[in-house]
Every structure is written in C-alpha cells, then in structure tokens.
Symmetry: C2
C-alpha cells in the first residue's frame, strides 16, 4: 500500500509543561523542509546516524535541513547495541567540538533506538544541554524509545545504566522508513506495540490480534494506527510521570527479564525487541503465579508474540545468572528485584517477587 | 581563632521549586551525624573523594554516615583538574555498579571543585539520576562550584564541555576544612569571592578590601562572613536563572579569559581560581575599553586580586591562540566570543567584543 493512502501527518502531543513537544506521524516527513519549521533558529545542525541508515536517508534529511541551517554535518556511528557505550558517545562530542557547535546547535538522531539513546544523551550533556530532534527510522524507536526523553548508554555491568531524562524538541515518525527495515526489526517493534495492550489497553490488544498479519506484512494504514495508538499511550503515561517516580515503570513490562537476556547473551545478540518479546512471556508467567492473570491470558499473549515473529523461549543462562543480572536492574532496591506484572488484564503494577517464584518462571520458560 | 567562636551553623536557602535545598555553613559539620539528618532514607552511600582529601576527612564523614546508611563506601579519585575526564568519571560508575548501588543510593562529593563536578555529574547520570550531597572542602568550592548545580567534565577541546545542571540535596560547608588548605588554594577561593563584588555588590567589595589580610590569614569569622555572603549572592542569581538562560552568565566574570589560560597551559598548571583571578583583571580591562568602568576601577580590582595572592599577569600564549581557545567557550554563538563585562560597578552584562579590542587587552595583560 503506497504512502499516498494516508493524507496529512497526525500529531500526538506530549504534555510536560515547558518541556512539551509533538510527535508527528506520517509518510514523507523527513525530506520535507516543512517538517522542521517549528524548530528553534540555530546556525548549525549535526545529524547523528549510523552506517546502515546513512546511505538510505542522510541525504534527504540534510537536503531539507539545508534550508534552515547554515551548516549541516553528518556523523555516522557504528551500528548496533554493542556500540552503545562511552567510546561511541565520545565520537559525538568530538564531532560537536570539532565543528564548533554552540549551545544552540540542534542534534538530530536519525536511526533506531541506539542512535536515539546516544544522540539524546549527548544532547543532554553537551554544554549541559542543547536542543535535539528524534527522527526514528525503526518501528521500535517510533513506538517507544524516541518518545519520552529516556536516553542512556550501557555499562559492562548493566544496560542503560548511565543516562539522562532529556526531552527532544520534536519527534518525526516517518512511516515510509518502515518499508526498508529488515523483517527482524519489524518483529522487534511489534514487541513494544503488543506491550501497550496488557499494561494499558485491552481493546488495543484485541485490535493488534485482529491485525497482526497486516502488521507483519507492513500494511501502511495498520502500521500508522499502531504507531499512533502506541505513542498516545506512551505520551499519556510519561505526561503523568516524566522521571519514573512510579507509574512510568509499567512501560518496562517484560524488560527486567529482557534486559537480563540481552546482557547475559552480550548486547546485540538478540535485538532489544526480541528480548522484550520473550521477557513479556516470562513476566506473564510471573503475573499468573501472583494471581493477576489466568493461564489462558498467558497462552493468548504468548501466541500473539509468536505470531509477530518473536522468540517465546528464553535462552538457558542458568537461574543464578538470571537472578544476578536482574539484581542490577534500575528498578531494584537494596538488592531486591522488582518486576512489572499484570495485576489484571489492561493494568500493570511494579512489585518484588520471591526468588523461588522467579526460579519457577525460569524453569518453565527457558529453552 | 578556634571554631568555637562561631555558634550555630548558618543556612542559606536556594529556591528552585521542587529542587530547592540548603547550604549549611559552620564549623564541625562533617563529623556530626545531625548534619545529614534531613537526607532521604537509603540503604547505601558512596563517598567520592580524592587521594589528598581522603586521609584528612573520609573517616570522619563515614563515621557520621554509618548511623544512617547500612553500607558506606569510599572511592578515592586521583587529585587535580587534569583528571576531570571520562576515564575518572567511569571509576565512579564502576564503583556504583560494583557495589550494587540503586536509584536511592546517595553520592557524597567530599573535596574541591573537581570532585564536586565529577561526583555531581555521575549522580546526574547514574540510573538517570540519584541523590547527591556536596561536602566542599576548599574555599573555592564552598563559595562557588558546590552551589547551583553545575556539574561537568572537561573535553580535550574545552573545559566543562560535557555535563549537566543537576542540583544537590544539600551543601555542607564545614569551615574547619579551610584550615588545612594550602595557601595557594585559599588564594584561588578568594578569586571567586572577590568576583561577587564587581558583578553584584560593591559594598561586599569594600568589605573584602577592608578584610583581605584577615581572609588571607584564614581568620575564621572573616571566612565565615565571606562564605555566607558569597553563597547568598550566588543563590539569588541561580534562583532567578537555574539553567543560565541569561542572568546566571554574570557569575562567569573573568572565566572566558580564565578558561583560555587553563586550557592553553594544560589543565592543572594554574588552579582554576588563579586563572579566574587573572581573567578578572583582563575582563576589567575589556570593561574599561567598552566604557563600563574607569581606569581607577581596574587598578583597584587588580590591586585587590594581587593582595589575595593571585597572578595578575597572563601567560603569553599568543593572541591567536587565546582567540581560538575562547571561541569554543560555551557562551560563544556562531563563532562570536561573548564576554561578561562590568557595565557599571556592581553590575555585569554579557556581550560580544570585537577581536581588535580583545587583542588590545591581551597586549596589555600578557606577561
């Protein structure tokens, strides 16, 4: 289905007082100078991207930005979660200082979640904060990581351990970019879309189930709806709890197990979305043991995750390794692991779980 | 003069809405468990200090903290501005993760400005933000760097280029720690104290002039007054402009020239306060050329800076090198260097200056 089937771009507002901004969703956005019209005036722009995305979209973005900025430079980072570290972050600072970037210079994150996390964290820190714009080109980044201002890099001892809450000026979700993604990346994005159902909106889960084949096949109107509804739910949650004092943690459903998988296998082995997909199966099992959902719910969610093309059996890292990896999760307090669990379909809470129960889940879910 | 001559600790409030906190000033604070009574409850604390300060005060601080925290660890960083970089910052993250620190863990910055900048920036970034407390043990840190939430590390191409605005929970200025400082550090602190006169309070400048010998000799009541009045002025400025949208920049009087000296000589060659002292002489010359003050004012300020034990002749780096170093200053925009200048005694503004005028200042002030 061609992009002309969708008329005007849609906007989802994220309400954070003086840090409010819009998520603009539609086809043909990144090459259109009008998409950038609302940005603050500045002399220079730096487009941070990676070696995979740059050949596809960097020229189009720079062409549109050339109308607003005297100087537009591109920095290509190596691709992949394995590079989300200090060394790569420093390449951004080197480029900014090497090009004489000042406090008004605008950073653009053109790529997936890794590029967004690193460019966003660099923007938060460079001269203690410069404006930045998220231009997510993966489904996962469009529905999750580019929205809400979480930025971070990994530490060898834990994922996303060093970062900042730092909001972009604008998020541009160009739906056309989804058509060039590898299928594995589509599946990874569907994991975060599916997530919004059990934690917040069972009607959306029904819709995803009815449309999963269209989503997997990249039907444009289906993707447009899924991206918009996901952003609406995320915007509502983040608007209530920007810095994750409480509610926002529900967006991490599946992530405690998922982060342990990513970290245990080595970052980049599984995609983040794949680990979250499998992590949701595990978190659903835990929710059942805690009485929030029944076995039918677990089977239903597992089947949907599998239809999306995601793994539903966890790698067998051993229970001790899982527990030790999860104890360094950011939600842990005083060594006690806390999980996001479904307390009833469409609602999630964070709570600790006894190690014995977690071991049962691991025994049931590991391959 | 012994510390008993000062009765109760004094408090200066810094009003930043939900990020408000107190600066507590007095003798005998760091070893007193009551000083820490207002901090949020947490299981663990990490005291970040350096190899010079640790033997003097780490034990006293840890003893007082042991009453509130189940686990108190100490991390000793190498001493000096030359170590204010990524590598040293990572030692803090390694220690936090190695000790299982969580989102509630409290970081204590025990030392001078370098320790405060690094521990503060680490606190801003670790898990996207954990509580921290400034325990400044140098005069410069007590009157300037520990107050107001600026944190940063240096980049090879510029000082304080990577950092965050991140407010502490509490600042404890224990005046007793000033008695163990090398004289050079006292002078460096006096530079930032003197600064508050020309930019904000000529009556305070009169008082400093009348008491400069007592300050140099570390007279306790004189130091107590100087620290308190400096913190009051800084708190008032920061309370109006936390993120340096405008007014706060006046606190950088002398710093554009000063940063160029520090960076040009190599960080650590001159102390920050020494470079600021000399930088204020240069900025005063520039202010005179721009018509804000007369030659008598420049002579008066220069004489006071010299009596404090600070350099008043700048190193001869060459005009081109000075200009190129100053162009990467954070206040620069689109390649134009902007200076804080005195527009009338007791009042400062930020403005660009023609290169030709800056060259005249360099010709007059360089050794």
């Amino acid at each position: 289905m061609s992009s002309v089937s969708i008329a005007a771009p849609e906007r989802v507002g994220i309400d954070l007082g003086e840090r409010s901004y819009s998520i603009v969703i539609g086809p043909g956005l990144i090459a259109d100078a009008a998409s950038y019209a609302e940005l603050p005036a500045a002399a220079t722009a730096l487009v941070v991207t990676n070696t995979t995305v740059a050949p596809l979209y960097a020229q189009a973005v720079c062409g549109a930005l050339a109308e607003r900025f005297r100087s537009v430079r591109v920095l290509e980072l190596p691709d992949g979660e394995a590079h989300k570290n200090w060394e790569t972050l420093n390449l951004i600072f080197d480029a900014l200082l090497g090009h004489g970037a000042d406090r008004k210079t605008v950073l653009f994150a053109l790529g997936g979640g890794v590029v967004g996390d690193m460019a966003g964290f660099a923007a938060a820190c460079y001269m203690r904060g410069v404006p930045f714009v998220q231009v997510p080109t993966t489904l996962l980044a469009q529905v999750d990581s580019s929205v809400g201002g979480k930025t971070a890099i990994n530490h060898p001892l834990g994922k996303n351990m060093v970062g900042a809450f730092y909001q972009p000026q604008l998020v541009l979700c160009d739906l056309d970019t989804l058509q060039t993604l590898p299928q594995r990346e589509i599946a990874a994005g569907l994991a975060e879309i599916i997530k919004y159902g059990p934690i917040a909106d069972m009607a959306f889960l029904d819709w995803i189930e009815a449309n999963i084949d269209a989503l997997v096949a990249r039907d444009a109107p289906a993707l447009a709806h899924a991206v918009r509804r996901s952003c609406e739910i995320k915007a509502a949650v983040v608007g209530q709890d920007e810095r994750e004092a409480g509610l926002r943690a529900i967006l991490n459903f599946g992530h405690t197990f998922g982060h342990a998988i990513e970290s245990g296998l080595g970052y980049g082995e599984w995609l983040h979305g794949e680990a979250v997909g499998c992590g949701m199966v595990m978190a659903a099992h835990l929710s059942e043991k805690l009485g929030g959902v029944d076995a039918a719910f677990v089977r239903r969610l597992t089947a949907l995750i599998e239809r999306a093309g995601l793994p539903v059996r966890a790698p067998d890292l051993g229970a001790e390794r899982y527990l030790s990896l999860m104890r360094v999760d950011k939600k842990s307090e005083a060594g006690e692991i806390r999980f996001v669990v479904i307390d009833r379909p469409g609602s999630a809470v964070m709570r600790p779980a006894p190690d014995a129960l977690v071991r049962e889940v691991l025994a049931e879910c590991c391959a």
